[in-house]
Symmetry: C3
Subunit: 370 residues, 3 copies
């Protein structure tokens, strides 16, 4: 049930120019699809930027490939090749050249509901079942796929790509070149409740105990008057959720990327060019620096500060402030060396126990210390 | 790119009356926006309920503020102030006064699809692209934003606020004053599969081993005949998911609040005024008591009972029943003191190892024990 | 506020035939609703397949029940009963018989937007606000509930049940009998970014340190040219998210089931009849075998291989390859026995410490080793 899909075409020479690589062989050869080396055939561009792919490429029917810088391209039976340096970076260029734009007709679909006071920039493409509220301002070149809702007073910069089913709440402000994956929510209300009298959580923080003597909580809502402010070049993953601020805005800095199913609490401040991987949760009022990388399923407690250039290993539970330029792991999160030492310590216990038993057998029973 | 948004206005006297606080100074002064102290200016209400904000407030252009009970309000150059006791509770009152209602026109949007058999209460506001099924009954004062789907036979009480893109499955019943954040799913099918013959998971539970000798599983679905029953004053977070029960309903008690991306499995029973923080997962048939607080990313295993007044620290993995009035932490979750003792134990191992080595050097090599 | 809902009716004889059980008593008795034993009355089918339900059943007003194989059915005052072997498997048959189909009119709703080039199979039912793109092909008997979006060039097999608000991205291919719970996203873009120069994460992997001397990252996107390919009999949970592949497709094998809020990264390959429980996250390019069970909140690191017949305990953090037929637990995930040994080791430290102190008191202070 292989299906024909529309494809993009480029010559080897053009691709090499885009990648800053070296085109060799029949450089006017046209290719239409990047493929893994072993699966590539005529018309494909085999992606073999690492010598480990050499064997697969040699056995394939590929006629064109992207190879590592000093590869002996002719040994693979190719008609043409592109030689590149940093291979992962080349992937960025290649996948940009061959990316297929979403199937979205230019203009505004007849089944979209757009408030007359909204301003939509030039060249917009807006799909069916999109709802845009009052006073919204959206920049030029925006693409909004089906089922998106954008509430009143939202501002979005130029060239946004907003996938199906995204929810953007009132008064959210977003910079240029924004990408929102399907189903993400930007501007949900913060999870912030308070009791008239001190409750059990406050008692636990103060006394380290739960007595059951605090009043039954009647959780009263603290509404979110703030919104969310997002910089330029930000991407938000599928079904992620970002809460509004209580008084000021929740903030996400320029160039920061969030993966799928990430949870960002109210008032959180995230710096620039930070990566937040899948299913990370950041509780209310936490502050995350610049160039931070939080691996998958990391949790950050409320009001904690994570310094710039921090890397947190997967599932780390960050309960306290983390200094800049630190890698942390585990729960509660600790510097990597300390975490590793802890693992080693646990493994040493059985051996220590045996050695202690041996020593006990070898010492006299009376106390000689005093 | 600051944008004018509609604002709410209140006098200092009126705000103080609502908060049960004391108005001082020019109490007929009108303010339109609560702000952080350092950023506040004329027309704003600086929120400085803690002495730690004193410096920022003194240097701001604020003319009105909410202050702690015995603050020397005149020392900050204010024209008026409100003195309050419990500051977080005051936040609830303030954010209620200044909350902006969602931009939703009264009445039913022409692009909503509502089954003729559905009953919608007085004063309803229903947005575009809302779908409501047969026999649905919704109380007075309901607000349903765009793209919500409510399946057949659902009952929802009065004054619900249902944000964009919420999914409510068939036969779900919900009390009064319900709040649903964008994208949450109430009434997905339970994750419940069974094999004709015993499978590897059952073998592991019984024997502690996987032999690979069990039959290849053909996972057969157990459908969810039950629904979800939700009490009064419940709030569900963005993109959370709550599964239906198998035979009876999954239940969530009065006053309980769920944060974003929470997962509630089939048949789960949650008590009253319980807080379930972001990304918590509760597996099928677990029972959670009243006044429980589960911090972010906590997991609760299937069929486990968590007693009332329990607090679980972030990322705790609750594999077994937890007694009431206990704080648990870690994986597998254990009482807080025991968890802390474990951390300390791990850190002591290197020192014990050194001391043991020293002792080994000091004892004779022969066995003297017997 | 109990509400009448439509019900299904079956005779005891018919149900027994479907379950492969034995019908006893008045086998033409009609029942309309399976219920828990204690709550069952006339017209209900009490589900009491385990002797632990005997007391509840005896005190109920039930007239018909499903019982364990050698139950003394007449002792419960029943008019009829069905005796079955494997009780959980019987639940599958019972819940299939009594399942209520979603309230969806046959045909295509007038408020659906379907590209003229799309092919929809016979007997389709498509709800309001559904958007289907160009060249989509969907098999016979499909049911698509409201607010679903299916992008261009998607292929879906026969008898799919796609719940409200599901997002299916371009070029995704799905087999027969597919079930998608509300809000799940299939075919979001991968989270894949690269810097022109080596960045801090690469430095950490290479040197074990962060020096702050790497260039500030400018995260450049690697687009996802691949799609997602899903086998037959697959189910995806509510608000789960599955990313496209970079060059080839992300793959999910026949008979595999994913629970709510699961995250599947780009290029991931999952085998057949594998169960992925709630909130599991699988990072990019990981490979998961056949008949694997990943319990709730498990994380799998990128490029890791998890062998067939593996079981991972809840919250396990799988950082390295796992051999087939292994149960792993904890972070970093380790074989179950080793994890248990580690827990025991931590608990033994205080006692070892006491014994060591006692020994220290009993040995002379001079070094006797040399």
């Amino acid at each position: 049930m292989e299906k024909k899909v529309s494809l993009v075409s480029h010559s080897i020479a053009d691709i090499a120019a885009q990648l800053g690589g070296q085109a060799v062989g029949q450089t006017d050869l046209i290719v239409t699809r990047p493929r893994e080396p072993a699966a590539a055939g005529p018309g494909d561009l085999a992606l073999a930027m690492d010598p480990k792919f050499a064997a697969g490429l040699a056995q394939s029917r590929a006629e064109a490939a992207v190879l590592w810088a000093d590869a002996d391209w002719q040994s693979f039976g190719l008609k043409a090749a592109i030689l590149v340096g940093r291979s992962r970076y080349a992937m960025s260029g290649i996948t940009t050249l061959f990316d297929l734009p979403p199937g979205l007709a230019p203009g505004i679909h007849s089944m979209a509901v757009i408030d007359p006071s909204a301003e939509i920039g030039d060249g917009a493409a807006i799909g069916p079942f999109v709802a845009i509220g009052a006073n919204v301002r959206i920049g030029a070149g925006v693409r909004i796929l089906s089922h998106v809702s954008i509430a009143e007073d939202v501002i979005i910069g130029e060239h946004a790509l907003i996938h199906a089913g995204v929810r953007i709440g009132a008064r959210v402000r977003i910079g240029d070149r924004f990408i929102a994956q399907p189903g993400c929510v930007i501007g949900s209300d913060g999870f912030s409740f308070v009791t008239p009298e001190p409750n059990a959580v406050e008692e636990m923080k103060r006394t380290g105990r739960i007595t059951g003597e605090t009043a039954a909580p009647e959780w009263t809502r603290i509404n979110s008057l703030g919104a969310v402010r997002i910089g330029d070049d930000v991407e938000i993953g599928a079904n992620a959720a970002i809460d509004r601020g209580t008084v000021s805005d929740t903030k996400i800095g320029n160039g920061t990327k969030l993966d799928n199913l990430v949870h960002i609490g109210h008032n959180v401040q995230i710096g620039e060019t930070t990566l937040i991987c899948g299913q990370v949760g950041i509780a209310g009022s936490a502050v995350i620096g610049d160039r931070v990388v939080l691996a998958g399923q990391v949790g950050v407690a409320d009001h904690v500060t994570v310094g710039s250039d921090v890397i947190a290993g997967a599932q780390a539970g960050i309960a306290n402030n983390v200094k800049p330029e630190t890698m942390v792991m585990g729960y509660p999160a600790q510097p990597r060396e300390q975490f590793m030492r802890g693992l080693k310590s646990i493994r040493r216990v059985p051996m220590l126990s045996e050695r202690l038993a041996a020593v006990e057998k070898r010492v006299p029973n009376e106390d000689v210390s005093g």
